[in-house]
Point group: D3
């Protein structure tokens, strides 16, 4: 059940049986010469819809711009500052908590969002308790990173080994190929790729990772792999969501 394709009265009925909601969150950032700028949002969005179907959960609108400041040296990247993202998450959850939602399951497609999301959750809990919203103390937020699912991780290792890398990975590129086969990109990838450097600011990042990839070989990706990753992630996160609900 997609929030965007529902009416408020359908939401009202839904809330009588569940207080859970899935919120996909991605990023709009460079993903190397062949990865889509929307990769993280596309993956989160698709997998969240799959989980929503599997669990009869409502799926909110995808947060398609996240915390990608370190990628802003590449054109096309859009980033929120962490302080903005904290306010955004606070606003989303406050709107929904006032209506009765208490379980927020963020299906996340971008490692760079994790820290800020966790900070935002802490800020949100305190804010909601301050507002004295009924059931404020029951509000729980959880991050579910699809790319950290053990089944996903295992398959990526099997298929790609060290060439999975950590950004513009073949696994995430594969998922986007599965979702948008019409947007599979071709480009010559340098055999040399930046790897192993820590992430600091945007200028530094671009110097260390000149084509945007982090130790990855996205040329290994195929739409078929993408489907596999998609199905594994949906299965594992569906279980994760149900456990979260019943926590």
């Amino acid at each position: 059940m997609l929030l965007h394709l529902s009416t408020w009265q359908e939401v009202e009925v839904y809330l009588q049986q569940s207080q859970g909601i899935i919120l996909p969150i991605g990023s709009t950032e460079q993903h190397g010469p062949t990865g889509l700028i929307g990769t993280d949002a596309i993956c989160a969005d698709a997998i969240a819809r799959g989980v929503g179907e599997a669990t009869h959960a409502i799926v909110g609108p995808t947060i398609n711009v996240g915390m990608a400041l370190h990628h802003t040296g590449f054109p096309g990247t859009i980033s929120l500052r962490p302080s903005t993202m904290i306010q955004l998450v606070r606003d989303y959850t406050t709107s929904l908590a006032k209506a009765g939602f208490t379980k927020f399951y963020f299906i996340n497609g971008h490692g760079g969002n994790i820290a800020t999301l966790k900070a935002a959750f802490s800020e949100t809990y305190a804010h909601l308790e301050d507002l004295q919203i009924p059931n404020a103390h029951k509000v729980q937020c959880q991050i579910a990173n699809w790319f950290m699912c053990s089944s996903v991780y295992k398959l990526a290792k099997e298929l790609y080994g060290d060439q999975e890398g950590s950004h513009a990975t073949p696994s995430e590129v594969a998922v986007t190929q599965y979702v948008y086969p019409e947007a599979i990109k071709q480009a010559t990838l340098s055999s040399e790729v930046g790897s192993g450097h820590k992430i600091y600011g945007a200028t530094d990042f671009r110097q260390k990772y000149p084509d945007g990839r982090m130790g990855s070989n996205p040329a290994l990706a195929t739409p078929e792999h993408g489907q596999q990753f998609y199905e594994l992630a949906v299965k594992e996160l569906s279980q994760g969501y149900l456990e979260f609900l019943n926590n």
Copy 2:
């Protein structure tokens, strides 16, 4: 050309020929008993894609949650506070302006966004000049409200007369029916509908407009109407975008 389905290198090439970008912005808010909660985002998203195709412009990710505080008395609504939205718009435009974009064309699907967007534009211009970004003084933002296109307005009057109303209107519902025919909703609409009241806070809004409609009869909407509105809006806003670019 969709930013989400592009690579950063494609954006780099694009920037050599154009510094314009289209940013769809909608809202996630109740639209009466039969209107989709995502109506404003769906319309903005679809029309922006149409305009992008017609003008070869890049289309950024849809801002699908906007300023809908007055609708938060209805479950399913999500709203940013204006102060958050100003920071969000500042972050989007700053990221893009640093990469070379100077013309931001916001295709907007929600009347409630207009004031905050305009405030955000003012804040943004000053911020970019303070940052001393090259071409900061060339940065221009414009709101293009598809529902205010004269062709759209005229057709709505012809088709619906006074029953167009001002929220959960048949014209916007029609566009969503055209885009998502699988999500056409049926519900009994009261013959009495709130109308003519000014908009203040959320509690007041729900009292004045108990089912969420503002003077509208969305039962008049059809997918065929939706296609007409879509095509008129795409045509008129494509022209508007090109004029904006050449301004």
Copy 3:
């Protein structure tokens, strides 16, 4: 009744019979070679006092600096950023709402304030409901732009036709001449005047409108005209205030 010339005990008595307050808001910004920098504040202040007398309403202190970032390329202009102005309006209304005021009628002298004021109202309603102030849901804010009164608009068209323009207009200059006849300015006005350009940032504005006027010929203004505009605005806004109270 002017808040500034009242005691708190007089306000306490007033609140037993009315919860309405008029808040004049202007701007401190260039108004061309002959317009006063305080034009917008002067007009709002004078007209608000007139409305206060006519309706026995209390009139608060004039907010004489508004949102004028686009005029900051001209010396003497002072502007709040929109995000500051939102906090300011929130603070004013919160102070007054805690004391029992619920009807805030902003008599506005500057078009550039409108968007930010509306955004501020939305932020305020939500804030007051969050604070759980008694009667928070009854709080209503309204903008009344004296220069958009139909009677004012009609007279300006009659007197000045196209030379009314949209900034440093003869109508607003006339009102300041009526209020401050000792401060009527003389300067040679170029026969060429910027016109028809959209408003973006401060640098752009000054390029497009080199002497600050927007399509106007303020040399047509006379104090007598000013009195006429003043009286029309007071009459129309007095009626508007009473309707707002009885809404």
Copy 4:
């Protein structure tokens, strides 16, 4: 020279000979049963105009709402939060510093503003240096509290002794009587008056100072005294302003 009654071209000329500006700041707060709510703004405004005339300095718009949170238990009081006021002062000074002003002389009518103003100055200096505005390092802000002028203080002691008190004082009431003789208020003042308590929050303040006065007997005030205070303050602060300029 009043900024409000000047044109931007007159300001441009002024800046060639002086970079100083006087900014009056008051408050909108209860001043006991007979003191005007606008007392602090009225005094600052009048004295600033006097200083402006005496020194040929430009006088900006009066900031008539200041930091009066502790008075918000009395109806009619309006207060900025300190964090809002810091942003406001930053915005004022940034607008003016960009145009070339470097010497900001705040003529202040309210003790409660002092701490926040000083905090705002610190924030402002750092902000302007960060913006790399030309002459940022020359920007200087100074508070000039008219009620702390030694000549004023001495006369108040002579005329009123201990009955001067520290809020709703006969000296400030006298100045308002001189400026607005038509608004002299009569009320029975209790012979018992709160005195000597420190200032904390609004609820506490109203308990300690039930009629709003702090140890004062404003019944002693006369318009003639007001004129004396006015003239002393104008003289002393005029000298102070010139010393500040030549610092």
Copy 5:
């Protein structure tokens, strides 16, 4: 009783008998060629511990970075902006007020903190009343500047006369020598020292006070003096704290 060396259960017991807490606040800023960068924090910390022992009060963690923006032209200085410090104080006091503390006694070692602390207190009182925390109206904050104790001031005048100066003073250096005799510094001090200039921004400050001292001769300091100052301050502030508690 040091909060850092206590358990939460000990705090729970403490709260049954007292709602007071001592919060030391200093600064991390240059103190001339021989003064320690931590001088203000060291003094506040040591004296607060002494007062805590004398009065059986709980002493919270030392806020060792304060408002020192004007010293940031010297390496090693760290400063909060005033707006950050206001939020910090709000967070400290809110955490503690929710647990039942109502009396906050800030033992302060840095003149530059005073304005911002006072602004923060005002913001805090209003915030806590808005949160509707039980006993919010009983919350009281007080600044106790050890260097302004009359006994300290008198001794400094006796020992150093005019050479006490106002920053990097022999009295504060003496206290640090008493607390950290192993960190007594030697350096040649110029016989010329900046004096009498007002404090504005960081660049200006360093120009006026090239070695960081303000009219002081810290070479006069001895650890024995330091012990005297320490004991006087502890005695006077212990009495001050008890009066504050019983207020």
Copy 6:
């Protein structure tokens, strides 16, 4: 070399040979019936000093209040909100970066700080690049969690097995016993201890973890263990700091 015990001229000399600084960060929060409220700050402070000595690095003032909102249900806890902590970290690093520091090594004693610190680093990098500080692009921040050192982790497992738990752990309590043997606490610990629950808001946390421990048995701690942990952490983090410098 402790920043607090240095002069600005010593810092100036230091900067000629190193641009690195160690910033200890802890928390002020409940640590169960026998753990000190200052545990996290005490450990970070002590270990940072050890690392500073071993590596000749300068050690800044300990940030002794961190992000502990989830512990605020227990008296004595003080927490910053994440949004405040982001501003605080920004202010610290900006002050120091302007003076020439580029390598910030945060020795952290509290797991709850990690997310917000990382968010703050991202915000800081972007801020410094916006300020156009020289060497902004060289600024690097790193978190070093002493309790995550592999040598520490291994010893904790050997000594305590599963009774190490994850909050109020015997290993951190042991370090505080080593540092403050005079503050070793005795209390009866329930044999039942909350364990395995995720962390959400403060009310929820206290319900799940009624005495504040998370699966730990701090009764196993000894000062001798503490010394071992201290020495292992100092050794491992000293190496980590040197690698960070040479990165």
